[in-house]
């Protein structure tokens, strides 16, 4: 079995895996815009509710993952229940496995690269099936299935199968949408583009959402958007006004203004950090007197370290939730299960909050007060996030396509060298700067994210950090592409006058 590779196993699945073909010819700038916008709109349509649930199911589901939904575009009670989580998890698993040389892939070969991509897709499909089956088995949907009473009726197998296929089907579809991006039809990476879109949409919706929903366990109703609700319920009576303002900052079923301000602050800081850079003077080896600078950013890996950390935490929480439910169903003593995690429902928002157990220490608190009240958890959580993201940045700066070695290779191909350095020492010079940049960037970003979480950002701060960082990446690719076409585009002709 000397020539056997794990990668070859994927060959068996190649004929049955749906695939997006590589473009036959260069996709023009206009077409790329259309593909990007089109896939974005299709992605947003995935947030329609699942058929078979009662109306306003998103507020009635007892939700153990409320902390992480925002980061992965997991919309409660909708087709996007799993969001981008399967795709992101699969991508990280494969990238790390290749980077740390756990599997043997030569990404220079077309065939291997194809297998690698298919493997990633297959993992994403399998994960989606796993998550969906786990959710349904854990009784996540039991309280919201149409015409089903968990206390009196038997198991609604038909509905279960129906819901399962809806979630899994849409998750497959999302994975294929991402592939459209990754095969070069659109701008940027699919995952990051969708995350940006989702974050931006939610940012606007949280503030001025017009929809009016009933509050659970009460007969009142409120608007979805925090600011809009405040304006709608404006009153000249001072005591009522005071109460309304307090409510706008503390309500927990809908987004509140605290989360909004945390997001806003995060945006300002991230934009600042994004522009911290060291400029290495470079000169061309071919043309004389061609001096320029090569910027190395502080956020060398962008928001990937943070995204990676939250992928890990979310996966731990999800599989923890499954495990707790499975153990409970098999009548394992409740003391033992409580060691793993114990959930308690919160009456104001139907969130399942962790109260004890191992999972409790890897979760964040929903308000600033509760993070002060459980200091041990806060410390462990902060340490976990910061350490994992820094570790990832350290690894990533060596294994990604932008490692010191690869960058110096690029320099050589383009006939560039660092001013005042010989050709051979370029790698050495770069590897003195790049890993330090990556690690300190990831460190500062994760501290920013965790600060938001401790103050009660409920993942909004994290998602906005990831969103803004990815927006920069997409914008950069967009501008480069735009300049290459020389501004020769139908769209710029149409919108140029604006």
């Amino acid at each position: 079995m000397s020539g056997f590779r794990l990668l070859d196993l994927i060959k068996f699945f190649l004929p049955i895996l749906p695939e997006v073909e590589f473009p036959y010819e260069r996709i023009s700038f206009d077409e790329r815009i259309v593909f990007t916008v089109g896939s974005g709109i299709i992605f947003l349509f995935g947030q329609l509710p699942i058929y078979g649930l009662v109306s306003n199911a998103q507020f009635k589901i007892e939700d153990p993952f409320f902390n992480y939904r925002n980061v992965f575009a997991m919309e409660k009670g909708s087709l996007l229940e799993l969001g981008l989580l399967p795709a992101i998890t699969a991508a990280f698993i494969w990238q790390l496995a290749v980077g740390l040389k756990l599997i043997n892939v030569n990404l220079g070969l077309v065939q291997d690269r194809e297998l690698f991509q298919s493997g990633q897709k297959l993992t994403s499909f399998l994960l989606a099936i796993g998550y969906a089956a786990g959710l349904i088995y854990s009784g996540y949907y039991d309280s919201v299935i149409q015409g089903y009473d968990p206390l009196t009726d038997g198991l609604p197998i038909g509905w279960y199968v129906f819901i399962f296929f809806q979630i899994v089907g849409w998750s497959f579809f999302t994975t294929l949408l991402i592939e459209i991006f990754d095969k070069g039809y659109s701008f940027g990476s699919g995952i990051l583009c969708f995350l940006t879109l989702q974050t931006a949409t939610n940012f606007v919706r949280d503030l001025v959402g017009l929809e009016i929903f009933p509050i659970i366990n009460s007969n009142k109703s409120e608007s979805y958007g925090a600011l809009f609700n405040l304006i709608r319920s404006f009153s000249f009576d001072l005591t009522v006004l005071k109460q309304n303002i307090l409510n706008a900052f503390t309500r927990s079923q809908f987004p509140n203004l605290t989360q909004f301000y945390i997001s806003l602050l995060s945006i300002f800081v991230v934009i600042g950090l994004q522009n911290f850079r060291i400029e290495i003077p470079i000169r061309s080896t071919k043309v004389r007197a061609m001096n320029n600078v090569y910027p190395i950013r502080l956020l060398y890996c962008g928001a990937l370290p943070l995204l990676f950390t939250y992928t890990i935490i979310t996966n731990i929480q999800i599989f923890g939730y499954f495990l707790v439910n499975i153990l409970t169903k098999f009548n394992i003593s409740s003391e033992l299960v409580a060691l793993l995690g114990k959930y308690q429902i919160e009456a104001f928002s139907n969130d399942l909050q962790l109260k004890s157990g191992v999972l409790f220490y890897l979760s964040n608190s929903s308000t600033f007060i509760s993070s002060i009240l459980s200091p041990i958890r806060s410390v462990i959580y902060v340490a976990f996030v910061v350490i994992i993201s820094t570790w990832f940045a350290q690894q990533w700066s060596y294994i990604s396509g932008a490692s010191p070695k690869d960058t110096s290779k690029q320099f050589k191909e383009q006939g560039i060298s660092i001013a005042g350095k010989r050709d051979v020492s370029i790698t050495k010079e770069l590897s003195r700067v790049i890993p330090v940049a990556a690690v300190s960037g990831a460190f500062s970003l994760s501290v920013l994210a965790v600060a938001g979480e401790i103050l009660g950002g409920l993942g909004k701060g994290v998602s906005i950090i990831v969103g803004v960082c990815s927006a920069f990446g997409i914008l950069e690719e967009f501008m480069i592409e735009y300049q290459q076409t020389g501004g020769n585009s139908q769209f710029s002709g149409a919108f140029g006058g604006l």
Binding site: G40, I41, L44, F45, Q47, L48, P49, Y51, L53, V54, S55, T196, L197, Q198, A200, T201, N202, F203, V204, R205, G209, L210, E211, I267, F268, I271, G272, N275, F276, R277, I278, E279, L298, T390, V433, V436, A437, V439, S440, F443, G467, V468, A471, F472, L475
Partner: protein, 68 residues
């Protein structure tokens, strides 16, 4: 021996903070004019994207009533 191991253990973070802060000090930072320019550009882009996205989401409301 034990103290040596401990020293090594504390050395890594100390080294890390030294390198990191030196790096940040050396960085070119955006001045306030550049900063506000970027904030405006990114802010407009972000909010535009959000508004369009939210408009698509508003289309969901009638569909929601149809299918639930």
């Amino acid at each position: 021996m034990a103290s040596e191991g401990l020293e090594k253990f504390t050395e890594v973070p100390v080294e890390f903070f030294k390198d990191g802060s030196a790096f940040v000090k050396k960085c070119t930072k955006p001045d306030s004019k550049e900063y506000f320019k970027i904030i405006r550009a990114v802010g407009v882009g972000f909010i535009m994207m959000g508004v369009v996205g939210y408009a698509v989401k508003l289309v969901h409301i009638p569909i929601r009533y149809l299918i639930v």
